[in-house]
């Protein structure tokens, strides 16, 4: 609750500062300030996220899911997190092409991560067949 109040207060201050910088034709600096704000906020949000991730890993361990599969899920979440961050920042700087490329890269890398899972499914299917 207290964290949220601080974050919202900072966001309001940032909005005013960004508006001023954009109106003073310092668009690049405004984008950089937005990036700095985003990076700081994500650094603040990482410890809670780490707790949630720890919970999921613990659940997976209790359900006796093979650690390879859990690792794939975690890596996919991390990749999606970073890709969304990069794409949003590029969109914010009005660089739609860069944003699209970053999103595409995220999709491709996540698909690459999922390859062992698909192979595992295929193997299981082949094993089921008489």
């Amino acid at each position: 609750m207290q964290e949220m109040t601080r974050i919202v207060a900072m966001a309001i201050v940032m909005a005013v500062l960004l508006t001023y910088l954009r109106s003073a034709s310092q668009g690049a600096l405004a984008s950089q300030l937005a990036i700095a704000f985003m990076v700081t906020l994500l650094l603040v949000l990482l410890p809670p996220l780490q707790q949630v991730m720890r919970l999921f890993v613990d659940l997976g361990r209790r359900a006796q899911i093979r650690s390879v599969y859990m690792a794939v899920v975690l890596k996919a979440v991390g990749t999606a997190y970073i890709a969304a961050l990069g794409a949003q920042l590029a969109k914010d700087a009005k660089e739609e092409t860069t944003a699209a490329v970053v999103e595409m890269a995220g999709k491709v890398l996540i698909m690459l991560l999922a390859v062992p899972l698909v192979a595992g499914i295929m193997e299981a299917l082949v094993g089921l067949m008489p």
Binding site: E3, M10, A24, Q26, L29, L46, V57, G78, I82
Partner: protein, 65 residues
């Protein structure tokens, strides 16, 4: 919550914007452009460090442990 970096960048941005206006009014367009470029590069140097820290932390969180 470490917000000094953000306010550092915001302060530099405001100073650059004001000096830009002064230099433009004094008819020194090229120096004003150079000033803007210098500001962008300085902030970029700070940003690269922040982003590398963020990515290292993200990788640490999502690593299989």
């Amino acid at each position: 919550m470490d917000i000094t970096a953000i306010y550092k960048i915001a302060g530099l941005g405001i100073i650059v914007a004001i000096l830009h206006i002064f230099l433009t009014q004094a008819g020194r367009q090229e120096q004003a452009q150079m000033l803007s470029l210098a500001g962008v590069i300085i902030v970029l140097l700070w940003l690269v460090q922040m982003i590398s820290r963020l990515f290292a932390d993200v990788e640490a969180v999502f690593r299989w442990w």
